[in-house]
Symmetry: C2
Subunit: 129 residues, 2 copies
């Protein structure tokens, strides 16, 4: 799964990982500190951190044998941008719903869907698996 957006979304699709991010938003922490509240092994948490790190959500520095984990908030922008784009688009479409209905009335032989098309903006194309 190469693309960054997929990595970020799927990293946050796990409640444990989301909780870690929430805690890291408050303060940096070591692996052991992070692991403490959950009843899974430290190894499992280490794996979760690797996922978050691969997604760019988190970075680790080095302090003796400790590896403090730090939240990288910038990556959030990647998601918010994607989301906001299509949310706005969908909402705009909702706003002019009456206009669409109007156009459908004018061509009753045509099937739905087709009519409203053609203003399509096909970003993210070719990203299909």
């Amino acid at each position: 799964m190469a693309d960054p957006l997929s990595r970020v979304f799927s990293a946050l699709a796990d409640p444990t990982r989301r909780d870690m991010v929430a805690r890291l938003a408050a303060a940096d922490a070591t692996v052991n500190e992070l692991a403490e509240p959950y009843d899974v092994t430290v190894q499992a948490v280490s794996k979760h951190l690797k996922v978050l790190e691969d997604a760019g959500l988190v970075s680790r520095s080095r302090d003796a044998q400790r590896r403090p984990v730090h939240l990288e908030a910038e990556v959030f922008d990647l998601m918010t941008k994607w989301i906001e784009r299509y949310r706005r688009q969908a909402e705009a479409r909702y706003q002019r719903l009456d206009a669409v209905l109007e156009e459908l009335k004018n061509r009753p032989t045509d099937r739905a869907g087709r009519a409203a098309r053609a203003d399509g903006d096909d970003a993210d194309k070719g990203a299909a698996s």
Copy 2:
């Protein structure tokens, strides 16, 4: 995987699904229309739609044997709220980084991480797997 947030994130973790959402933002579409650009079977696309529907991102009405698919933009808010919350928190923390460093200087015997803690806001708690 019960919780709604996980469902939404993981639904959007797939590029094909994300592309469908992008196209649905422009216009409603039938399953076959949606399937056309991808070189997978219609059944696969039907499955993808089920995932999106379970996440609440999409709804289907009935028009004879067709099932027009419609994007439900409201669910996006769930994500944006979550994201914005922790992004803001993390950025605020970044802003007052110098203050934190100051405090660390005052207690040089204490280990990092510990010091910055205790202002923690532990939302989403109990959501851990």
